[in-house]
């Protein structure tokens, strides 16, 4: 398992890729700092940081992009380079291979996204405190794990995993949830926001948004993570490895 995770990390942490991802997560941090510095007395600042920077930018756009770039490549690159047989021809259960690949994506993506979330919370949200920080950590970690599981599965079943991930994020989560509010119960973005709001409603109030309930969000993350993990293992067991 250790050797597999190490391999996955080396595959995912190319200098250029890490630099681009770090730059991406730096954007909302810089924005939050600028907003704080330039609008010290703005009564809307709290709402703008929560809805605009944390929810609108980090959770809705940057988190899925960061995880997408890593998780779709976890198996995608192995299939493209035809190296997957190097892993499956070893005395390792397929579940361990999937776990290692998934862990690799999460180990790289989570610190980037979670640290960005914590900084934005501490800088932009007055009186967020420890609870606010923990809420941001928990919500973002849950989001990263759920996205990583779905996108890892996509990387194994299709060579067009990036396209699939973009359609899910842009069309399903971005467009459809704004027309059909019920679809929010089937959206990783809205589960993340639901956990954020549910864990600390003072630091992250609704501000008129139709957030979903904490329990529903936790159940959603658990079901999708467990379900897609199972599907990925089953796919790896049943597929003909090139």
């Amino acid at each position: 398992m250790k050797a597999l995770i190490k391999l996955s990390l080396r595959q995912m942490t190319g200098r250029r890729r890490l630099a681009v991802l770090a730059l991406l997560v730096a954007l909302p941090i810089v924005l939050a700092v600028l907003m704080k510095v330039l609008n010290t007395n703005d009564p809307q600042l709290h709402e703008e940081v929560v809805n605009g920077v944390l929810g609108g930018m980090l959770i809705s756009v940057i988190m899925p992009i960061v995880v997408m770039a890593l998780a779709t490549a976890a198996f995608g690159n192995e299939l493209e380079d035809r190296t997957l047989n190097v892993l499956v021809l070893k005395p390792i259960p397929r579940v361990t291979i999937v776990l290692a690949k998934l862990s690799g994506s999460i180990i790289v993506a989570a610190p980037l996204v979670v640290i960005a979330g914590i900084i934005i919370t501490l800088v932009g949200i007055e009186g967020a405190g420890l609870r606010g920080v923990l809420a941001a950590m928990a919500a973002l970690l849950a989001g990263v794990i759920a996205y990583a599981t779905v996108f890892t599965w996509a990387g194994l079943i299709t060579s067009k995993a990036l396209g699939f991930a973009l359609v899910y994020v842009v069309l399903w989560e971005g467009l459809l949830t704004s027309f059909l509010t019920g679809v929010r119960y089937l959206s990783i973005r809205w589960w993340t926001l639901g956990i954020l709001h549910g864990a600390d409603s003072n630091a992250f109030p609704n501000f008129g948004q139709n957030n979903i309930e904490l329990v529903a969000a936790i159940v959603g993350v658990a079901v999708v993570t467990g379900g897609f993990f199972y599907l990925t293992v089953r796919r790896l067991q049943r597929m003909d490895v090139p």
Binding site: R10, R82, T83, V86, L87, P91
Partner: protein, 309 residues
């Protein structure tokens, strides 16, 4: 042969992808020693090896390796080493790191010694610390072989392991395989080049268009191949004079004049024919312009065996 225990058993195995049949009702056993799996490209060799390695499921029939089904049986890989056809490697790893990865994933005890032995066996100690992305094709193949050997498997399944290797590397490879076979290992090597396994495999399996065309002792099958009539096209300064002489040669079955004026000679002994033509040309004072053996493709050789069997 039957008194020995087969290490690989393939029983009435078929594999199809949609309406395309890749392997059609194939049965054979593989015993300790070296067995060559031969056939032209597209004959179904890789599909068959993938089923034996557990990389692909069978559509029908049964495959057993060391008495176990290889599909979804990772524990079996503790005793089986597989080198797939694709030369893909993790180019960012050095050769040694690649073999070490294999040792780690196999849970090899005394890892350092095992890695050293495996790399030494393929004669790549000097290049072991270079990234595999900088290796030649032949070096990549050899380092991949080292990775397949690092856990000292009882069964080795090698898909076109000689691709990209030069003659010297082939000799080294043959020596290594012979040593492993002498140690009681079962080695199955696929190739689309008959001569590659000629000096290596005691027994061969011949695949043609998804079917097993012949199986058994290499020499017996080779003798069958040598018996087949070869077509040779000859162009000379005086084809008619040469033809009259060729008809009298024992190695020649028939001689015909082609539309373009060249001679089409049918022979069952090309080696004798080659010597005789030169001598005959000298006697008849004819200048040989071209001597082209036809029907030399593997497909034609294998098709001949299929038709004969």
């Amino acid at each position: 042969m039957s008194s020995r225990q087969a290490t690989i058993e393939v029983n009435a195995v078929s594999k199809w992808y949609g309406s395309v049949v890749a392997v059609n009702d194939v049965s054979f056993q593989v015993y300790p020693g070296i067995t060559g799996l031969l056939g032209p490209n597209g004959a179904g060799k890789t599909t068959l090896l993938h089923m034996m390695a557990g990389l692909a499921g069978v559509s029908k029939g049964e495959v057993k390796v060391l008495g176990q089904t290889p599909r979804n049986n990772p524990e079996l890989y503790r005793r089986v080493g597989v080198q797939s056809e694709h030369e893909a490697v993790y180019s960012f790893l050095t050769g040694r790191q690649f073999v070490e990865l294999s040792a780690d994933l196999h849970g090899v005890p005394d890892k350092a010694d095992a890695i050293q032995r495996a790399i030494q066996s393929v004669n790549l100690l000097e290049a072991q610390h270079r990234p595999m992305g900088t290796y030649s094709r032949g070096m990549r193949q050899r380092m991949r072989l080292a990775a397949s050997l690092v856990h000292d498997p009882d069964v080795l399944i090698l898909d076109e392991p000689l691709n990209g290797t030069d003659p010297r590397q082939r000799i080294e490879f043959n020596d290594l395989m012979k040593r492993l076979a002498a140690a009681g290992k079962t080695i199955l090597i696929s190739s689309h080049i008959l001569e590659e396994v000629e000096t290596l495999a005691g027994s061969i399996l011949l695949m043609v268009t998804g079917k097993l065309a012949a199986a058994g002792d290499y020499r017996a099958i080779r003798a069958k191949l040598d018996e087949r009539p070869f077509k040779v096209r000859i162009v000379s300064s005086d084809n008619r004079a040469l033809a009259s002489g060729l008809i009298g040669l024992a190695a020649v079955e028939s001689v015909a004049l082609d539309i373009d004026g060249s001679l089409m000679v049918l022979s069952r002994n090309v080696a004798v024919l080659q010597q005789s033509i030169a001598k005959l040309a000298q006697e008849k004072q004819v200048r040989l312009l071209r001597v082209d053996p036809l029907d030399e493709t593997l497909e034609s050789v294998f098709t001949y065996v299929v038709n004969r069997s």
